[in-house]
């Protein structure tokens, strides 16, 4: 041995300590959530689940059901897309108002906006925070009461929550790209929107598209969940099938989800390949 004094990893005690801390923090969480895997395999429970799952095969594929499935799928896609479109209408202006990337006062201050300019951005940030802090399912329950059962409630719920999320992330994407092009344009007399279009947007397009398509995929899933509270689409159909213990129909719908997510993934990859 060349150097007999270094035999032990000097980082080992710290890592051991971290592991112990993580375990002690995790344990109360597990006991608080009353997680008990034993219940799954306990006598009649396992049997009930087995029967339910056995009904999944074969997936339902009779003509009337497929027509129903197609219509529900289109409705789900429509809810997600319309919700995203409305969300973008709120998110883009919100992000432009909230971002520091287009600050005129930051220009001559080494990139830090003046305090009053920063304070003016807070209402926009606050609005985006309020919009996204309430889960879409709560909005859906609210809108189902207000506008009745059907896709409208789902569209509104997605529009509101996703506007908050998109706005926040867009604002951060604008801030994360190289600020020099936009600053140079502002310093040559352009307006903020012009500087955004010519300085920030060319760098941010790929990231924005990728995130938006991912959010659209999330909106498809969210619209399914909201279907369970009566907001239309595949979710409502699935709720009905589960209540009737029609496993085959549930299986067909899950396969449809799989196809939808796959589609979103392909779309995202295509857009990223083209724009980033």
């Amino acid at each position: 041995m060349l150097n007999p004094t270094v035999t032990r990893d000097p980082a080992a005690p710290a890592r051991l300590l971290l592991t112990l801390v993580a375990l002690t923090l995790l344990w109360p969480g597990l006991s608080l959530s009353e997680l008990d895997l034993g219940v799954l395999f306990d006598g009649s429970n396992a049997e009930t689940m087995g029967v339910f799952l056995a009904g999944f095969w074969p997936p339902a594929h009779d003509q009337p059901f497929l027509a129903l499935l197609a219509q529900a799928t289109l409705e789900t896609l429509a809810i997600a897309t319309a919700g995203m479109a409305l969300a973008l209408l709120i998110a883009l202006p919100g992000a432009l108002l909230a971002t520091r990337a287009l600050s005129l006062s930051a220009l001559s201050r080494g990139g830090r906006p003046a305090w009053w300019a920063q304070a003016l951005r807070w209402p926009a940030r606050g609005l985006l925070i309020v919009l996204r802090s309430i889960p879409e399912i709560v909005w859906a329950l609210l809108f189902v009461r207000a506008v009745g059962l059907g896709p409208t409630a789902g569209v509104l719920a997605i529009a509101i929550t996703y506007a908050g999320m998109l706005g926040k992330v867009y604002a951060e994407i604008f801030e994360s790209v190289d600020p020099q092009p936009a600053r140079a344009l502002l310093a040559a007399g352009s307006s903020r929107l012009q500087a955004f279009c010519y300085g920030v947007l060319p760098q941010a397009t790929g990231e924005m598209l990728s995130y938006s398509v991912y959010r659209w995929e999330c909106a498809v899933r969210a619209s399914v969940v909201m279907g369970f509270v009566g907001a239309g689409g595949l979710g409502q159909q699935m709720d009905l099938s589960m209540r009737m213990f029609a496993g085959g129909e549930v299986a067909s719908m899950l396969l449809t989800f799989l196809a939808l997510v796959l589609l979103a993934d392909l779309l995202s990859r295509l857009l990223r390949w083209r724009f980033a």
Binding site: L104, L107, S108, R109, G110, D178, Q180, P181, R183, A184, L185, L186, A187, A188, G189, S190, S191, L193, Q194, A195, C197, Y198, G199, P202, Q203, T205, F275
Partner: protein, 267 residues
């Protein structure tokens, strides 16, 4: 006077004094080269003149206005009349050259026109003409990240020429070009400034280029103006004093201080 500075000083955020007590007057149509060692404050001076920095003391007057006494909207209108050529041109990598050049006139275009031009270049001929002066017309529809550092610098110059400002400021505009191209490009820049009766201030590392192309030379050292005289009157003693480097005086290659390696990020 197209620009006048009196007692202007600026200190960086880290407390390091970049410029102090600058007195400078430039008349319309003058062409001035700013020379001096690295870190002397040439870039800070140009950024002050481009209203990209606010002087912490002293009086600054540009094109007959006091930029920091104006309202935000008026200052933006003033900025549209000043063009700054950056050493590392700040162009988005994915942007096409034609769009990057047309962006020079955003300060004069309406929002509608600039949005339309983003979809379809409205004045491709105008951009091509400016690029043509710099021997880059064939790169019109290429993307900025497909160009070399020297080509990018020329795109940055073409953008400012397209902007057609009354005051052209250039921060090391030819630092990424070979000597022949640098000479040619400075010639184009000076000729265009003369023809348009625009005022030109350029900082340069290459002293011989400065003496050759510019009638008036300002030597800046340690944040102060060391000399300000016609190019014909600059002596070699003055140049030696300007570039004297105490820290490198014992080094076997003192010439290294004259040409520091410049990193031009590919945009």
């Amino acid at each position: 006077m197209i620009l006048s500075l009196s007692g202007v000083g600026h200190t960086h955020a880290d407390g390091q004094a970049a410029l102090c007590d600058i007195e400078l007057r430039v008349a319309q149509g003058e062409r001035v080269a700013i020379i001096g060692p690295s870190g002397a404050g040439k870039t800070t001076l140009l950024r002050l003149l481009a209203t990209a920095l606010k002087p912490q003391c002293g009086q600054l007057e540009l094109l007959g206005e006091q930029p920091w006494a104006l309202s935000v909207a008026q200052r933006q209108r003033l900025r549209a009349r000043i063009g700054l050529i950056h050493q590392a041109p700040p162009l988005p990598p994915r942007q096409r050259v034609v769009t990057a050049v047309l962006a020079g006139r955003l300060g004069q275009w309406s929002l509608g026109r600039s949005l339309l031009s983003l979809i379809y270049p409205l004045d491709a001929a105008g951009a091509a003409a400016e690029l043509g002066r710099l021997d880059l017309a064939d790169k019109l529809y290429m993307r900025c990240d497909q160009l070399s550092g020297g080509q990018l610098q020329r795109v940055g110059i073409a953008r400012v020429l397209y902007q057609a400002p009354e005051l052209i400021l250039a921060d090391e505009p030819v630092s990424a070009m070979d000597p022949v191209l640098a000479n040619y490009t400075l010639g184009v820049l000076n000729r265009e400034a003369q023809q348009r009766n625009a005022t030109l201030l350029a900082s340069l590392h290459a002293v011989e280029l400065a003496l050759q192309h510019f009638p008036r030379i300002i030597g800046v050292r340690a944040g102060r103006i060391l000399f300000d005289k016609p190019a014909t009157a600059v002596t070699s003693e003055e140049l030696a004093a300007l570039y004297a480097n105490e820290q490198l005086s014992h080094s076997p290659v003192p010439a290294a201080a004259f040409a520091p390696p410049l990193h031009i990020p590919r945009c």
